[in-house]
Symmetry: C2
Subunit: 340 residues, 2 copies
DNA sequence: CTGAAAGCGCTTACAG
DNA sequence: CTGAAAGCGCTTACAG
């Protein structure tokens, strides 16, 4: 079949291209009868307007982009991403916007190059950006490029921002975790965080320290990189040599590090939770399946993704910035912090 | 900055739009000097050609699509998808083609509607299709739509196909697993497969049965749905009441069902591997982290995704169908099948 | 409510 | 090697 066009429909119906266009887009300027005839014919022919022609004349791509910048090591194992993606796609599909996905390594230059290219080619109308960094160059870059964006996961401590984003109050989450450990009698705990270049990790570290101080607890910080091995190494270096005041609980920045920590405890012959309790800052199937199952903060990545996507759609629609705080996370208590 | 166009570049350089276009696209028809001046100016201005204008005039979207049609339950937990996605994106990025991602529920109508829409709008130049089904309606649909596609994971038994695809010889993989269990002394095993609507599951079931027969082993089949609960329920119903000839090993169609099976064994008080051995048809971090760690077939989803994407790029480039067999999978032996 | 026309920003024969 | 022009398939003021 030769590809049908709007001109073809117009000819068949004996009307002008403009009328067909108005009818299709719900614009005024056509009678209801004409509109119906157009819509019926389009359906009968299984015809859809060309996305590139539409994009060109509207100066709107009808798609948004997302760069997944992550360690190849993590990308295929971190369940958080996939859950968030599902939420994002759900919201975008509802708004009739397509998702363009790009995966690059941990090299920040590649992420920036992708944004420059997308902006130059007008390939996407906006982007979703993740993990607010210290001195994050991306907001300024995207502003310069005229590319609308939503920053997902900015720390809650930031004031009214010059851009759209979801925020999480990590200090509250930190307090939830610390209080839980305090209630169980822990007085000296370790906090194995992700890299401090992430603002949310800064906020978590501060939150854990502050809440611990309030409760007269001591915190030993350890900076990891979210990989399994980092959790393992952290536990080995923190717990191999207990000393006189041993650490009795470890809080991990994500589920993979928690799993690494669990493996290390086994190697060291330390029993969990009797000798060392574990808490993960992200919940996932890994935490549920581990033995002992790991107590974890349930952060609902699917919902977070959905909200971030909705903010982006709203930004594209109305041009106004919005900041939307995520609900406080819930701690799912499992065997790894069972009362000793 | 007002958005630069090809006309603007031409004016600045005092040449025609055509020359600029030829220079950018590596076409003959411009002097080397002119080409350099164009390229240099484009770089200086950080200018890229508009993707929609290009798509419209070339009748080529510069993107391919992928519909992830899966249970919401599985989508956020099945690591196989994410790994494959990474491989796909790697290949596409190298070919300068964008990836359009769409997630829909398990409803096949939604997947088909997406293809119809994409074809009508000429939003993508081709699609990647997964999981060859019995009487799969998708190849015929895509042919009718004139949409090039690659079918990933067709069974190896199919003859020279009328379309491009990667194939896996599941019978060989089945034999690898069955022989391993036979060597360990197992004579009565269960095979908890995925749905039989998938051709590859048919082939696996047949392969397991055939190889077992050769070795004088008995196989109890059980049809699952790849979800954690299915693995759990299978083990409960197969092993709760051992009888006189108990099942001593269970083969699961994917990692999630394996994990469910492991949980069920624990509940039933059956020791693994001493009383019941476990094998998973997919490897993942779950298999590595489980205790006992689960013996699994390592299928390299990243490589599979990469090859499928390369086939699609080749198809778009040359228009010729290719079938590419995947290498035989390797069995990673872990504690769940340790010699009793 | 309808039609003729310009415009979105490229690519590509076709003359020179 | 270069320039003027048509075309890709829509949208959208502008007249009627």
């Amino acid at each position: 079949m030769a590809k049908e066009t709007i001109a073809g429909l117009a000819r068949r119906l004996g009307i002008s291209k403009a009328s067909v266009s108005y009818a299709l887009n719900g614009q005024p300027g056509v009678s209801e009868l004409t509109r119906r005839r157009v819509l019926d014919l389009a359906e009968e022919l299984e015809w859809y307007p060309s996305s590139s022609a539409r994009a060109l004349s509207r100066s709107r791509a009808g798609a948004v982009g997302m760069v997944l910048s992550a360690d190849p090591l993590l990308i295929d194992t971190e369940p958080y991403y996939m859950a968030m993606l599902a939420g994002i796609e759900t919201a975008l599909a509802a708004g009739d916007v397509a998702l363009m996905l790009r995966m690059v390594g941990k090299d920040p230059a590649q992420e920036r190059a992708t944004y420059e290219r997308w902006a130059g080619e007008r390939k996407v109308d906006g982007v979703l950006v993740f993990d607010h960094l210290h001195d994050d160059p991306r907001p300024a870059l995207l502003d310069r490029l005229g590319m609308p964006f939503v920053l997902h996961g900015a720390p809650g401590s930031a004031g009214p921002a010059a851009f759209s984003g979801t925020t999480t109050d990590h200090a509250v989450d930190a307090a939830t975790i610390v209080r839980h450990l305090h209630d169980l009698g822990h007085r000296r705990v370790a906090h194995v965080s992700g890299p401090r270049t992430f603002l949310h990790e800064e906020e978590r570290i501060g939150g854990v320290a502050a809440c611990a101080a309030t409760h007269g607890m001591e915190v030993v910080p350890f900076e990891g990189n979210y990989a399994l091995g980092a959790g393992h190494d952290a536990v080995v270096s923190l717990l191999r040599d207990p000393g006189d005041r041993p650490i009795t609980a470890v809080v991990f920045g994500n589920d993979l590090m928690s799993m690494g920590g669990l493996l290390a405890l086994r190697e060291l012959g330390l029993r969990c939770p009797e000798e060392v309790a574990l808490v993960s800052w992200d919940d996932s199937l890994h935490c549920q399946l581990a033995s002992p199952a790991v107590t974890a903060l349930s952060r609902n990545p699917g919902m977070q993704g959905r909200v971030a996507a909705e903010l982006l759609l709203a930004l594209l629609e109305t041009g106004t910035f919005q900041t939307r705080p995520m609900p406080v996370s819930e701690l799912v208590v499992r065997a790894s912090t069972a009362a000793g």
